[in-house]
């Protein structure tokens, strides 16, 4: 009887030890191989998986030329984005927005003054800034929101517990929560993109699914030149040329989030 118990304890101890070591070995192995390298404990950057034609960059960024934005273009952009991504059209204050139109004075609280009423009342687009130092990723308790190596901040709709900490953390109001089942509010469902369930957070993902197929983000494609998308790390890229030539601002840069959506004004 005694030996039996001792043996049981031995096996149990080894099992516990093995279970304890396993994650550590995973931690060491991350980075190499084809498996997604999710940080076991701390949020870390995920490697990008893409097909043969995929567009790739070291650091994706967007430049918005506010002078080229007009009502028609902005409406088309919102329509295309929200249709492609099955964003529901929910009336009221529990709505969901990936890219939306708002006044410059709301976007750039600290950069405008009262003697430029026209500039303040002008409309522009707001979307996720895909910050280099994203507070949403920092606060997420499950790594359901994470950053890829190319800078895109993504959402795992199947892991999100709906605590909405990321929404408190985001200083740009770029995130939306599914207060209800969104499916009845989707006019035409795009089968290529997942619909969401109630109780999870969602937001713009810089069309990561299109980049993987070699396509530009949908908003850029229909923007008639108002939106430019490219590699911030490449000095020859279109975005870098625009940023070098023109005066640009970012939303609340003093917060240290390092937003990667630039506005030409």
């Amino acid at each position: 009887m005694k030996t039996l118990r001792r043996n049981f304890l031995k096996i149990a101890a080894v099992a516990v030890l093995g279970w304890g070591v396993r994650p550590a070995s995973q931690l060491l192995a991350s980075g190499g191989g084809a498996e997604p390298s999710e940080g076991l404990l701390f949020a870390s950057r995920h490697s990008v998986h893409a097909g043969p034609n995929a567009l790739s960059a070291k650091r994706w960024a967007m430049v918005i030329d506010t002078a080229k934005l007009n009502e028609k273009v902005m409406e088309e952009i919102q329509h295309v984005c929200h249709t492609l991504h099955n964003v529901p059209n929910i009336p009221g204050k529990q709505n969901i927005k990936w890219i939306w139109e708002t006044h410059m004075e709301h976007l750039f609280l600290e950069d405008l003054h009262e003697y430029q009423p026209e500039a303040g009342a002008k409309s522009a687009l707001a979307l996720c800034n895909h910050c280099d130092n994203p507070p949403c990723v920092r606060v997420c308790p499950t790594k359901a929101t994470f950053q890829r190596e190319d800078g895109i901040v993504m959402m795992d709709f199947h892991r999100c517990i709906g605590c909405r900490y990321c929404m408190a953390g985001c200083p740009y109001g770029s995130r939306s929560f599914n207060f209800m089942d969104p499916r009845p509010y989707i006019e035409t469902t795009t089968p290529d993109f997942p619909t969401r369930t109630k109780g999870v957070v969602e937001k713009c993902e810089f069309c990561a699914e299109r980049l993987a197929e070699g396509k530009m983000p949908a908003c850029v494609e229909v923007s008639e030149g108002a939106l430019t998308f490219g590699d911030l790390a490449d000095p020859e890229s279109e975005v870098r040329k625009l940023l070098a030539e023109r005066f640009s601002i970012r939303r609340s840069p003093t917060l240290g989030t390092k937003p990667c959506v630039y506005y030409l004004v």
Binding site: C140, F179, S252, T257
Partner: protein, 384 residues
């Protein structure tokens, strides 16, 4: 010892039945929330945390108050507190259970709750809040139960329990500090982005928590004849009033910093709460009521003579408790989200179903509290 909970008077069983009724109302409301989502609440895209998270924040403070008994008893040998120590510890147990229930009620996808353990993320303060809250729950169950059992057998509690009693002191501070860190580390939320937040949370906790303890001890005294001992509650009342003074002082520090610096994104929230902002001010009457209650409560309890009188002590504690509840349970969370980072104003008022769920959760917490207190007081009276 648990058998003490199933031996009670008609009043006891009536109270239990009443709580069970409230719990079933809460369960019915929660069923609505589970089927339709958080849309049944008053929350919105701009105000993403509401009544649930505010109650959690407030109750963490009430839970932490046990330390205001443990410190005098174990670090200063103030043995008069020995008799009500167990009430503080069991109160902490019930309050932490309430906190956890409110967090779960607030989740959009509660079925995925275990993801917090499956994908541990130490860079999230929520992860640490889970660790410290559950830790504090276990410590207080352990300490409360072991010391009570020893008391029943009329032997000295085992020596090893001392370790957990001392551990409970910094742990109590940690639960409210980490809870404050949930908020004060967020860029773009001016109302919370202040280093005094954790200190203010602790100060208001050490006012509201002991005030609650005093009130429930009086209730226990009425229904069971439990005698806390002469001068015990007035002494605890001193803790209440001093802590509330510190809380008000820290609030004034905040008001000075915000309004003398004149930084708009920090001023907007206090303006919204106390005078209204661009015509919106649903919380203004509440906040002023809280301030008046806090000040009147302090004026009553700061006079040592008043603390000796049962009626004045009860009124003072009620005022301070309700004042702190409004400040944290209504203003702290709602005020932080209005205006939003784009300087747009969406106000928040909890919905009836949301309040129904909260009622059910509170009833659950009080059920736990009642049962634990029944056991504790039963044991004490048996020994006597």
């Amino acid at each position: 010892m648990l058998e003490k909970a199933i031996n009670g008077s008609k009043v006891y069983w009536g109270w239990i039945a009443f709580l069970l009724l409230l719990m079933s109302i809460g369960a019915a409301c929660y069923w609505q929330q589970l089927s339709h989502g958080l849309t049944i609440t008053g929350m919105s895209r701009d105000v993403t945390w509401g009544f649930y998270i505010a109650q959690f924040t407030f109750l963490v403070g009430v839970a932490a108050s046990a330390v205001m008994l443990v410190i005098p008893k174990y670090l200063h040998d103030y043995h008069k507190f020995a008799k009500i120590l167990i009430l503080g510890e069991f109160n902490a147990v019930a309050m932490v259970i309430l906190c956890l229930l409110f967090i779960v009620a607030d989740l959009g996808s509660p079925q995925r709750l275990m993801n917090v353990l499956l994908h541990p993320t130490p860079n999230s303060v929520l992860f640490w809040d889970m660790v410290v809250l559950n830790g504090y729950l276990l410590i207080n169950i352990l300490v409360g139960w072991v010391t009570l059992e020893a008391e029943r057998k009329q032997i000295a509690p085992p020596k090893w329990i001392k370790f957990f009693i001392y551990l409970s002191i910094p742990w109590a501070v940690s639960i409210h500090t980490v809870t404050a860190f949930l908020y004060c580390g967020l860029p773009g939320r001016g109302y919370w982005l202040t280093a005094v937040l954790a200190a203010r949370f602790l100060a208001s906790a050490f006012a509201a928590g002991p005030a609650f303890l005093i009130l429930v001890t009086y209730i226990a005294k009425i229904f069971t004849g439990f005698d806390p001992g002469k001068g015990v509650l007035p002494t605890l009342g001193k803790t209440v009033v001093y802590a509330m003074c510190v809380n008000l002082f820290l609030l004034l520090c905040e008001v000075f910093t915000v309004f003398y610096s004149q930084i708009p994104s920090h001023m907007a929230h206090l303006q919204y709460l106390f005078v209204g902002y661009h015509g919106h001010g649903v919380l203004v009457p509440w906040m002023w009521s809280a301030m008046i209650m806090a000040v009147v409560g302090i004026l009553i309890l700061i006079v040592p003579k008043n603390r000796q009188q049962d009626n004045l002590l009860i009124i003072g504690c009620l005022l301070i408790f309700i004042g702190a509840w409004i400040d944290k349970g209504l203003g702290m969370i709602g005020g932080g989200f209005v205006p939003n980072p784009l300087h747009e104003i969406t106000e928040y008022v909890p919905s009836q179903l949301e309040l129904g769920v909260s009622l059910g959760i509170y009833a659950t917490g009080f059920l736990v509290l009642t049962i634990l207190y029944k056991v504790a007081i039963g044991v004490k009276q048996e020994v006597e």
